[in-house]
């Protein structure tokens, strides 16, 4: 993976530190062109990977890039699925079966309805595969080296101890998309242990890593110990601890840790993107001896 991945929260009104800011961002990025311009700004600064939730609008970005193949020749998408609120709202509105019907390809729905609930209840992993396919449709033709499961699903399954579903996801994206599986989690040490027990070695895990310990469940010390002693490929997210940390301190901390292969961040302006990229490069040089 590349050292720096560009995130999408700012484009879609996700802000962990302020509901008010998130609404202002939704207004700013109302048009797809505004998103594309920011991605181009990041690209000009050497950031060629976009880690994004499977919102419908991401499909428009993919279409744009496919129309300009020369410009985006070495560009990569890191899809994160599913967009949970889409399903949560659908379940509230239509019920679990209704939501499945709504989001699954037509043939499968009619076949399970014909086969009845017995068939459905036996084949959860096929349902998972069909939902992955539905979410991956928009990425047809673009490069997707790693496909991620969102933390709300990863952590739900982790808590339910349904690790076999995570393993099945891991195997399926490899088989069907020749991609590596990634897991986003707010419970990194616990997830890594669970995956290792099922024989998945050196997994790609995207998780909160910040100097203030924000959303590092189980504690910052446990995260540091896990990073120092275990084998894994970590993408650090929420490196600014939800937006209240001094950027220098935040980046210095993340760059000083071992096993952090990539750093994920998002920003709205070219100036902010540039200053974060510069900081990462500066501290990477300073911590060149750290194993990544």
């Amino acid at each position: 993976m590349e050292r720096i991945l560009f995130g999408d929260n700012q484009f879609f009104g996700v802000n962990h530190a302020s509901d008010e800011k998130s609404r202002a961002q939704l207004m700013k990025f109302k048009e797809d062109d505004a998103i594309i311009k920011t991605l181009d700004d990041a690209k000009d600064l050497g950031v060629n990977s976009f880690m994004c939730t499977t919102y419908e609008r991401v499909g428009h970005i993919c279409e744009h890039m496919l129309k300009h193949p020369a410009k985006y020749e070495n560009y990569h998408f890191y899809p994160c699925m599913p967009y949970a609120y889409k399903y949560a709202n659908a379940v509230t509105e239509l019920g679990i079966i209704g939501a499945l019907k709504h989001y699954m390809p037509g043939n499968f729905v009619s076949s399970i309805l014909k086969g009845g609930m017995a068939y459905l209840s036996k084949d959860y992993l096929s349902i998972m595969e069909l939902l992955v396919d539905a979410e991956m449709k928009m990425f047809k033709g673009v490069s997707t080296p790693v496909i991620f499961l969102q933390n709300v699903i990863t952590d739900l399954l982790l808590g339910l101890n349904a690790i076999d579903v995570l393993v099945a996801f891991h195997e399926y994206v490899q088989k069907k998309y020749q991609a590596e599986a990634g897991f986003i989690t707010m419970n990194f040490p616990r997830l890594l242990e669970a995956l290792e027990q099922k024989g998945i070695t050196n997994p790609i895990i995207c998780t909160s890593v910040n100097v203030s310990g924000f959303r590092m469940s189980g504690g910052k010390e446990l995260y540091e110990k896990t990073l120092a002693t275990k084998q894994c490929r970590v993408i650090a997210m929420q490196v600014f601890g939800g937006g209240i940390l001094s950027p220098k301190k935040a980046i210095e901390y993340v760059c000083s840790l071992p096993n952090i292969e990539s750093i994920l961040f998002g920003a709205s302006s070219k100036g902010n993107i540039a200053s974060t990229v510069n900081l990462i490069q500066e501290y990477d040089a300073r911590f060149a001896h750290v194993l990544r």
Partner: protein, 337 residues
């Protein structure tokens, strides 16, 4: 270890189950749901003993505590059954559909010294906890007005659907979204004793309200406005906020931020004159397992700890939840005239 069972593995139930599954002091002895789609999954992947009849589950697994996350209509019967069997209860919100039922269950739990809690999770959020502390410290002078609001995109087009669209099942914006705001007002400020000028508006739903607007009067004499709408697609997810206006300042609080304006510097924590903005990032206490928000784990930890210590605790107990049900009743009655 506390032996825990769950009745109702829907959206909230599954979330509780996942949090309980990682709790170091919990042994999950059974899950009950009428949907085989859910129970087959849990049997197969999580290896939990699953049931479709809660009577059988209780008899067989003998839990010390049970989480009840079925539609509200069924709460009264199930919770009464559990309390009579001397089982500690965590119930999802709202508590019941009738104030007299809520009162009866509250009395029963208290008389048997059983731990009782309802899932109004906002009260476990860092920002709303700090809000309550600020109000208790009397820092913004004499209060003269408040607003309680919640907006989100649950029902954004015409539909006929599941239990959330039926008032008899406990559906509708008043019982769902608004109950959170009503509960926060009751707890943070003072219990609601009167509702005036209430409008329950159906925007897309046929049988239930999609928005609730009302002027509320509190026991303390303070009055304010309730404005809640779950058909608001300009919000990505539910957003709840409380604003409080006083002679010495003003507080605006939502799940992510607490903004306080002081006319003069108070001698409390590190607050200063003028605007103070505190983010959830600095106010939230970390949890051992995170799913959807610290508050969901925090409320489960609080309940399990109370059960382990056989101690009745004040936050979100049946008493406070039955006051919320009473307020919901007052608001509905006011609309009916």
């Amino acid at each position: 270890m506390v032996k825990v069972a769950l009745i109702g593995a829907g959206k909230m139930g599954i979330s509780h189950l996942s949090i309980l599954g990682t709790h170091p002091n919990v042994e999950l002895v059974g899950v009950c749901d009428i949907s085989s789609l859910v129970t087959d999954f849990l049997s197969k992947f999580s290896a939990y003993p699953c049931f479709s009849d809660y009577h059988k589950m209780i008899e067989k697994t003998k839990p010390e505590a049970v989480f009840v996350a079925v539609p509200t209509r069924q709460h009264y019967e199930i919770i009464k059954f559990l309390l009579e069997k001397d089982i500690h209860v965590f119930a999802e919100k709202p508590f019941t559909l009738k104030p007299e039922h809520s009162y009866e269950l509250k009395q029963l739990a208290q008389s048997k010294s059983l731990v009782n809690q309802v899932g109004y999770h906002n009260k476990f959020m860092g920002t709303f906890k700090e809000l309550k502390e600020l109000v208790n410290q009397n820092l913004i002078g004499d209060l003269y007005h408040f607003t309680g609001e919640a907006y989100g995109p649950v029902i954004t087009k015409k539909k006929t659907g599941d239990w959330r669209s039926s008032p008899k099942e406990g559906g509708g914006c008043l019982l769902d979204y608004a109950s959170h705001v009503i509960d926060l007002i009751n707890d943070t400020l003072s219990p609601i004793v009167k509702a005036r000028g209430t409008v329950l508006k159906s925007i897309y739903s046929e049988h239930v309200d999609d928005a609730v607007y009302s002027i509320l009067e509190l026991e303390s004499g303070l009055s304010g406005i309730l404005s809640v709408n779950w058909s608001e697609e300009t919000y990505r997810k539910m957003s709840t906020s409380i604003s409080i206006f006083g002679t010495k300042g003003k507080i605006i609080c939502d799940a992510t931020e607490l903004k306080v304006y002081f006319k003069k510097a108070p001698s409390f924590k590190n607050y200063t004159k003028g605007w103070n903005v505190k983010s959830v990032v600095s106010l939230e206490e970390p949890v051992d397992f995170y799913l959807r928000g610290e508050e969901y784990s925090a409320q489960v930890d609080y309940f399990i700890d109370a059960v382990q210590h056989k101690e009745l605790r004040p936050v979100n107990n049946f008493e406070s939840a039955s006051k919320t049900d009473q307020a919901i009743y007052l608001i509905r009655q006011n609309q009916l005239g």
